[in-house]
């Protein structure tokens, strides 16, 4: 589906987000294809029952964990990566054997419509459905959808809607996976290759015009390297997007006027260093860097999700860690340092969905790492085998013999102290040899 209709998907993404072809090919098309191929190649292994270590009393039995589909899964996508954030969980759910209802985000309407048209042409029409109600009353549509019983709900988006999704799921005791946006901090240590750091941070912040769950949301820069960082950031933003980023084919647009307006309000915080230019007609905000931002400025209150990067100067690592810890656990924490002790310190004293040192935004490209949040940034995860596991039920199975009652009889009433001693002795034996033994 992706290969045969690549140009249509690229066009839809262009319309929705002015997504540069380069980004669309890599962060949407290639990544999804990669996931599908990885799942197809490993599916048989993932589906195999996992035989487990047994106790003395179950030595002759078959003990294993079976991976079973849950039933009907609901995947609610997000507009920032309208294909990836629908189809990667979709692939996990399909590989685990479920039927799936996909609800792409109505905000990226061109992509949603295209998906709704194309998916039924390639996949089984009974098992897999795309629900797209158009740009009407999206919030109510979602509430209506959540009135139905699902066996798992996967949601990517903001924390407020995440809570509503979980509350709705409560009615049917439906487990949920929530991947929620947050403020991903990025600490730059005084011992650091600033040239590299600036490039990696700028790339991660401005890709998709900053509309990326894993983008560094704000920078905490050590005072010693603050000025050098600014110099390098200035250079690389110009390198990436030229003097007039609105003309660059490699810079995206904001998804909607509402989103543009929310971001425009934040431009007044701190002091403008680069960018600041905006154009409502084309939903454009230039790659922008703000300095001298205070901790309680509006821009530090909620996740930015746009091409605006506030930089807060800190005097010491401790100050940076305290700022990070005051906030909800984010999806990612980033540290740039050549000193492993600093990296270790930040990692051990903060918590986040994922952690990356000396880079940003790369973690979710790896199928062997779980992609998910913790605390305010969500619960559960997906990608690769984690997707398969999320959408499976791990059923504990033990197949015994009806014979060998000579051992089992010990557990039946009427209880005799002699039997109790025997059982206690057998269980201590089993404990010494690892695992533990109940009566059998």
């Amino acid at each position: 589906m992706l290969e045969n209709n690549e140009s249509q998907f690229l066009k839809a993404l262009q319309h929705d987000l002015h997504k540069p072809k380069f980004e669309a090919l890599l962060s949407e098309i290639a990544v999804i294809k990669n996931e599908a191929i990885y799942a197809a190649n490993n599916l048989e292994e993932w589906m195999e029952p996992e035989y487990v270590e047994k106790t003395l009393s179950t030595a002759l039995d078959e003990c294993y964990v079976l991976k079973e589909p849950l039933g009907v899964v609901l995947v609610i996508g997000h507009w920032s990566f309208p294909l990836q954030l629908c189809l990667i969980p979709f692939i996990g759910a399909v590989s685990a054997g479920n039927c799936v209802v996909v609800r792409p985000s109505e905000t990226a309407s061109n992509t949603a419509e295209l998906l709704q048209n194309l998916l039924p042409k390639y996949l089984d029409n009974e098992c897999y459905h795309v629900i797209y109600g158009g740009h009407k009353d999206a919030q109510n549509d979602l509430s209506d959808l959540l009135q139905h019983k699902f066996d798992h709900v996967f949601y990517t988006g903001d924390a407020t809607t995440g809570k509503l999704v979980m509350q709705a799921a409560t009615k049917f005791l439906t487990p949920v996976t929530l991947v929620l946006a947050g403020k991903n901090p990025c600490y730059i240590d005084r011992n650091c290759d600033i040239y590299m750091a600036a490039r990696r941070i700028a790339w991660a912040r401005f890709v998709n015009a900053g509309q990326n769950l894993l983008a560094p949301d704000y920078v905490l820069c050590h005072a010693d390297v603050h000025d050098k960082l600014l110099k390098e950031l200035y250079t690389c933003v110009t390198e990436f997007y030229g003097e007039a980023p609105e003309k660059s084919p490699d810079f995206g647009r904001l998804v909607s006027i509402e989103h543009y307006q929310k971001l425009k309000e934040l431009l007044g915080c701190g002091k403008l260093f680069i960018g600041g230019k905006s154009d409502e007609g084309i939903k454009y905000i230039a790659p922008t860097i703000l300095l001298d931002v205070k901790e309680n400025d509006p821009i530090m209150e909620k996740d930015i999700f746009g091409p605006v990067l506030p930089i807060i100067k800190v005097c010491a690592l401790e100050e940076a860690i305290n700022i990070i810890r005051k906030r909800e656990k984010p999806l990612a924490v980033y540290v740039y340092s050549s000193n492993f002790k600093v990296i270790s310190e930040v990692m051990s004293r903060t918590s986040s969905g994922c952690f990356c040192s000396n880079d940003s935004g790369m973690q979710n490209m790896f199928l062997t790492l779980p992609f998910g949040g913790v605390g305010g940034s969500g619960m559960g995860c997906c990608h690769g085998k984690y997707g398969f596991d999320t959408f499976s039920h791990r059923r504990a199975c033990i197949l015994r013999n009806i014979g060998i009652e000579c051992v089992t009889y010990l557990r039946y009433p009427p209880y005799v102290d002699k039997n109790l001693s025997l059982i206690l002795w057998a269980s201590s034996l089993s404990r010494r040899s690892s695992g533990w033994c109940q009566i059998s």
Binding site: K54, C63, Q167, W203, D250, M365, W436, C437, Q438
Partner: protein, 489 residues
């Protein structure tokens, strides 16, 4: 209530002090909990006897042994489980460290149940401690003697700030649930399970819910009925049927129906004598509210054996019910008592259909000599867990996850599954600032060449030994040079 806020606040402050980070500390706490059990065995047995008329063997077998085994396992494996878990890398990250680091979640709330008051409170507690969390434990107020003993003993053995015990009923639990936790584990019924999940949703707190359901028990026609009935009777009548994974009802082949009833009657007599009320090995119902509830389920069915009761002493005899309608009250809700309805089916397909028309149960039991038939039943149904040719045993194997699905719950625990449930698995990518030539491909301005390179770099998964790493290091350097040359063109 301020008291709840203070309690949770204390636990959180203790967690933030990072003393539970050290594996040594966690092991010490687990060892202390082991001492709590061994030094207070008699008091525990006494509390259980007062709450449920449980006898010494049941206490040992169903409460103590399991906990001691779990502690031994955690002590042995903690270092291994808490260590970073390396993952396969791709060509882009071959010089980097890529792994998953299990981390504590923070403050965990554990709400215990009354039917196995110690194991269902303390086993989750063990997992939460091992994973490095602070814990607020709320044992069930219904088993009041056990709850009081837990409240008294925990602070004597464990760190007083990290691990708090809160006692109380509905009002106290409601207040407690208003506070923010980093994980909530609840064992009980689905009505309260929904209340717990609703409260958790307000703070985006993940939950593990161990709920009940009607665990079906299928008996095929070609089985050794003697042994089968003994195993079922043991599973059903232990703890007076008050076990979340007790076989709730029997579906047996029509041809063996009479024999099953006869053999069950004989087994009950073997276990508990002619008058189970006099047997020291037969428990009592937890309270009169539940006695009334269970007795109301008798309506509409025929009592083939048992049926006697004494509300004042919370006694209900082991009871077999026949002529049970699938729509009767006893078939609508989880029995959680010593009533065993027997329904007949013509074949295994009918049994499977019957089971699938109902909510997914916590456990499923099937008795059959033919492994193919057993595997068919497993493949065509769903449940938290399965024990074939016995009852309840899957609970005892710590290498198997114990948990429900659908209405019977979400999440799992026991052994490593406990550790993992109470941990956050943080994806970690420790990159160097080197290899920038390789990384340059992703920066704008974009180009088709760059796209091709990136696709190559991210699609291949690699897993190397030490020699392989040396080789890859050289390859990486060569790659960097090659790319610099090619991209310049």
């Amino acid at each position: 209530m301020d008291q709840m806020k203070n309690t949770v606040g204390k636990a959180r402050a203790a967690f933030n002090s990072r003393k539970a980070c050290s594996l040594e500390f966690r092991k010490q706490q687990l060892q202390a909990l082991r001492r709590l059990l061994t030094e207070n065995e008699d008091r525990i047995a006494d509390a259980l006897h007062k709450d449920l008329n449980k006898n010494k063997l049941d206490t040992q077998v169903f409460e103590i042994i399991g906990l001691e085994g779990e502690i031994a396992l955690l002590l042995e494996k903690l270092t291994e489980w808490a260590a970073p878990r390396p993952v396969e890398r791709n060509l882009l990250t071959l010089m980097d460290e890529v792994y998953i680091q299990p981390e504590p979640l923070g403050v965990v709330l554990i709400i215990g149940a009354w039917n196995y008051p110690f194991v269902l409170s303390l086993q989750p507690l063990l997992g939460a401690i091992a994973a490095g969390n602070a814990v607020v434990l709320k044992p069930s107020e219904v088993s009041e003697n056990s709850a009081a003993l837990i409240k008294e003993l925990i602070p004597k053995y464990l760190d007083k700030d990290l691990y708090q015990v809160v006692c109380g009923g509905v009002a106290e639990t409601t207040e407690l649930l208003k506070e923010k936790f980093d994980h909530i584990m609840y064992t009980g019924n689905s009505t309260v399970g929904k209340i717990v999940m609703e409260a958790a949703a307000k703070h985006l707190t993940p939950v593990t819910l161990e709920l009940g359901g009607k665990s079906p028990c299928y008996i095929d026609k070609n089985v050794d009925i003697d042994t089968v009935c003994r195993r079922i009777a043991w599973g059903k009548f232990t703890n007076c049927g008050q076990t979340c994974i007790a076989p709730d009802y029997i579906l047996c082949d029509k041809s063996i129906h009479e024999k099953v009833i006869e053999r069950l009657k004989e087994t009950i007599k073997e276990f508990y004598g002619e008058d189970p009320k006099k047997s020291p090995d037969y428990c009592r119902i937890i309270n009169t509210h539940h006695v009334k509830r269970i007795l109301s389920l008798l309506e509409g069915s025929k009592v083939a054996y048992g049926g006697q009761y004494d509300e004042a002493s919370c006694y209900i005899a082991p009871t077999i019910l026949t002529d049970v309608s699938p729509t009767s009250k006893v078939m609508k809700e989880e029995i959680f008592g010593p009533l065993l309805p027997i329904l007949t089916v013509n074949n295994v397909d009918e049994a499977i259909q019957f089971i699938n028309q109902r909510d997914k149960p916590l456990a499923l039991y099937a008795f059959c000599h033919d492994k193919k038939v057993l595997k068919k039943i497993v493949a065509e149904t769903s449940s938290g867990g399965v024990t074939a040719n016995d009852t309840m045993i899957h609970f005892t194997i710590s290498t198997l996850p114990f948990g429900g699905v659908g209405n019977s719950g979400m999440g799992a625990y026991h052994g490593k599954f406990s550790f993992d449930t109470f941990s956050h698995h943080r994806a970690c990518l420790i990159k160097s600032l080197k290899m920038e030539t390789v990384n340059k491909v992703r920066y704008p301005p974009g180009s088709p060449e760059k796209v091709k390179w990136i696709k190559r770099l991210i699609t291949k998964q690699v897993n190397f030994g030490k020699l392989g790493l040396v080789f890859i290091g050289l390859l990486g350097a060569l790659l960097a040079v090659l790319m610099k040359v090619l991209l310049l063109h």
